[in-house]
Amino acid sequence: MTLKIPRYDINREPFMTQTPDFNRKSQLLQTERTYKARINAAIQLTPEEKLFQIQILDPKERAQFSCLPGQFVMVELPGCGEIAISISGSCSNHEFIEICIRKVGKVTGMIHRLEAGAMVGIRGPFGTHFPMREMNGSNVLLIAGGLGIVPLRSSIYWVNEHRPDYKDVTILYGARTPKLLLFDYQYEEWRKVFNLTMHTIVEEPDENWTGPVGLITQLFDQVPIDPDDTFAIVCGPPVMFKFVCDHLSALGLPMQRMFVSLERRMHCGMGKCCRCNVGSTFTCLDGPVFDYWSVMNLQEAI
């Protein structure tokens, strides 16, 4: 007497044959399936940073992809690796995704060698976003240090696209040297066309630098901040956002109205690998965007 247990074939479930939609989290899906995307342009911003404009190949998948400022995608080079990269372009642009990558290791190094026409795989978008709609009707302070401008840039686009919804919008951006200020070719546009106020500062000026010199907190002297009617987004290295947020707290800005983006080691983006886990918090699911109060309550956040 025998009993053969029938096989349950997950591959035959209808959702397995559909293209994945990473926003539809309730169902099992092909979580490892990537969208194939072509690099349309690769622009060298600095020796270390490159901006890639990529387009998802399949029109259907392209239409399905939608993101919000602050979210990230997993970028894959099959056989080399997969890394978390913030979306840096406009989220209302459904044709192209812009990402800016700093060359630091294996995968980023290989991606830097890709030229226009080459392909990468992307999964996502993943993670939380800056609550842009919550900020409607208020002043917005966008503060970036170094590479922090990369995720912030998609909020800048958002603000521009919904400019009437916001009062004063100010960008404060600091870098170590003038050469490391990213997207400098866009500042004029941001100021004049986007109607934003923008201040930049560097720590080590060169002979052509005429702006202020020092740490980013020095720029606060130049901007009036209304603690009761302002939201702040702060992106940059942990030391920087700690200083900045403490400063803003001291001015009376509630912690819940300050948003930061955390960086952690990540392997999956889906709250499974635990590499970005701190206790019960997963930086990839509950973050990368956190309000400052949550960050303060995370052990070992910074």
């Binding site: 591959n11 889906m270 206790g279 052990q299 070992e300």
Partner: protein
């Protein structure tokens, strides 16, 4: 839940019957340790007599049947600039006999993460759905503390669960498949006497627990004693070898790596089980390490198990099997660490 009984002869027929058409795994003995005691491991059964129904505890947990130590997530055929990605979740039906209540509870905890949360994990799900679990009660060992973390009894997550009541097994039936199996191989109705025998067996098991770990305020202590020297004390002994997480039935952290073959025509994305105790667990580019020291990493393993998971799912991740305590050469066990934590707090 439905209950039946099955005689031991019929149980034998049942396993042999299942073995004919399916892969059946169960505890076998692999080695003897230096005291001459048997060391067990879940392995494929070729013969009913290999099955050790009186086994104590397997050295490594059966978690690897659901989360393998290494698994291929997807494969690629590479062309000069293009590629073709393949993903398959093919798992053939199989049966695991002899899993303990704690191990089944461990799976239920993993279900929370792998199936019920955002981004369910299809690899895990395919394995879980295609595995028939026949659980087995036992008298606790000296160091089992599953009772302290409420993992000593199990009501869900298995197909059948057996309790030895002498000449028969008392069988709890947890699924349709389980029902059909018992039915096919001569399951009998539970008699009054069976019920009594079951009750006294359960009482006996209950009375045998020796080790207790007081976890009452451990979640709070994790925060309160975050900077405690307890961690350094144990951290100094820890060799960051990851053994504890590897044998643990619930530790599920992993890493992903991709590699190409020598001809650069095929690539694979592989997932491998990792441990938060390993030095580069939280290391990012530029060699910045969020958890640079052994004691910090050790602390975070406990933090995830006894604090983070509690916050997320109202239960600790630890099921009290003490496999990590056995595997750890440095003698770091949950009992020892938590006792130390409790004591330090009292001082």
């Amino acid at each position: 839940m439905l209950y039946k009984t099955i005689t031991k002869e019929n149980f034998r027929r049942m396993i042999e019957g299942l073995m004919e058409d399916n892969d059946v795994f169960g505890p076998k003995w692999r080695d003897r340790d230096k005291n001459g005691d048997k060391v067990y491991r879940f392995l494929k059964l070729n013969d009913f007599d290999e099955l050790q129904m009186d086994y104590t505890r397997t050295y490594s947990s059966p978690k690897n049947f659901f989360i393998p130590f290494k698994e291929t997530l997807s494969t690629y055929d590479l062309a000069e600039t293009e590629w073709d990605q393949q993903i398959r979740y093919t798992v053939h039906p199989r049966v695991i006999v002899g899993m303990r209540a704690c191990d089944i509870n461990a799976l239920r905890k993993l279900d929370e993460v792998m199936v019920k949360s955002a981004f369910p994990n299809p690899y895990y799900f395919a394995r879980r759905r295609n595995t028939v679990i026949i659980g087995l009660d036992h008298e606790p060992l000296e160091d089992c503390f599953c009772r302290s973390v409420n993992a000593d009894v199990v009501f869900k997550g298995f197909d059948l669960f057996l309790t030895d009541i002498g000449a028969k097994y008392f069988v709890a039936i947890g699924s349709d498949t389980g029902y059909r199996i018992v039915d096919r191989f001569g399951g009998e109705e539970v008699s009054e006497a069976d019920q009594d025998a079951f009750k006294s067996m359960k009482k006996r098991i209950e009375s045998k627990f020796k080790t207790q770990v007081d976890v009452t305020i451990v979640p709070e202590l994790m925060d309160l004693e975050f900077e405690s020297e307890v961690w350094e004390r144990w951290g100094d002994k820890c060799m960051s070898c990851g053994s504890c997480a590897m044998v643990c039935p619930t530790c599920y952290c992993y890493g992903v790596e991709e590699d190409v073959d020598l001809s650069f025509t095929h690539a694979a994305k592989q997932r491998f089980l990792y441990s938060c105790n390993l030095i580069d667990f939280a290391m990012v580019a530029g060699d910045h390490n969020f958890r640079p020291e052994p004691h910090i990493r050790l602390k975070y393993r406990y933090y995830h198990q006894f604090r983070g998971f509690v916050e997320a799912f109202n239960q600790s991740l630890c099921v009290g099997c003490n496999r990590c305590g056995v595997a750890c050469l440095a003698g770091i066990s949950p009992k020892a660490v938590i006792d130390d934590l409790n004591e330090t707090e009292q001082r």
